[in-house]
């Protein structure tokens, strides 16, 4: 399934956001897949290039679990795009160092990301486009800043003794 359907006549914000984000996500995934990247790999590459960062730091930036980060970095290493290096400050931590090939690919993937966004917004009048981005930013900073912590956790605690 993709999203909740428009339950009515008035514009349905849930449907609009779900649908647009879902479609954009599939387009982005398809475009990045052409150069062998996932959105997460792109995200990690770009932020690892900015400065020396550990896996945990990159996980926080990308809003990933640390275990998800492990598999993402595994993929980057297998593709020769990044390497784990021991941090000199903290011997528990690993710095993610982007290789030359990784840096080249990151430049290309950023172009792809920008292009996909351009294409998505292409149909909008310039002014409407600016207002859209401003409004979405306001939502992100405002009432839609943080998810409610659902009383029903994503997954029940593992039962003891198993």
């Amino acid at each position: 399934m993709t999203a909740m359907a428009p339950a009515r006549t008035e514009p349905d914000l849930s449907f609009l956001l779900d649908h647009t984000s879902h479609v954009l996500r599939t387009r982005m995934a398809a475009a990045l897949a052409e150069i062998g990247l996932t959105a997460r790999m792109h995200c990690v590459l770009v932020h690892a290039l900015e400065e020396e960062r550990t896996q945990i730091q990159l996980a926080e930036i990308g809003d990933m679990d640390k275990t998800t980060m492990v598999v993402t970095v595994d993929a980057l290493e297998e593709s020769g795009l990044a390497e784990r290096r021991p941090s000199t400050r903290d011997r528990r931590a690993r710095i993610i160092a982007v290789t030359e090939e990784g840096a080249r690919l990151a430049a290309r993937s950023q172009e792809i990301v920008d292009r996909v966004h351009e294409e998505a917004l292409g149909a909008l009048p310039t002014e409407e486009r600016a207002v859209l981005l401003r409004a979405l930013n306001r939502l992100v900073d405002g009432h839609l800043a943080t998810p409610v912590d659902s009383s029903q956790p994503a997954r029940r605690a593992r039962q003891r003794g198993r």
Copy 2:
């Protein structure tokens, strides 16, 4: 994980849409859970009330798989909110008939949906709000209308003989 992080300097449409839709979805789920509904149950109730509809028709409207529809209707029946009735036109099909209690609850759930949308948009100036909805509608009708059909299927075909 929630969404791809802002990879940027410029406003990142992917991040904005993913984040807002995700947060709104959790808020909607939490609000509807207070009256024992999921977003899907609400969606089915509302559209089943509009006119006589079969499971397949409701599944299409809600963009659900027919197997997902089965469990959604199961939940509605168990809660006494809807019933399956054989279609008089097509004996394969089942009409989803909303009970009186279901109709009452659907009215309440629609209020909840509207309220959650109101709250989300509350921070926006009236004009910006109108432009946002218009712009999102344009995206839905335009380049973000349909997802690319990913070359890699969601799930590989079941291997034969198993």
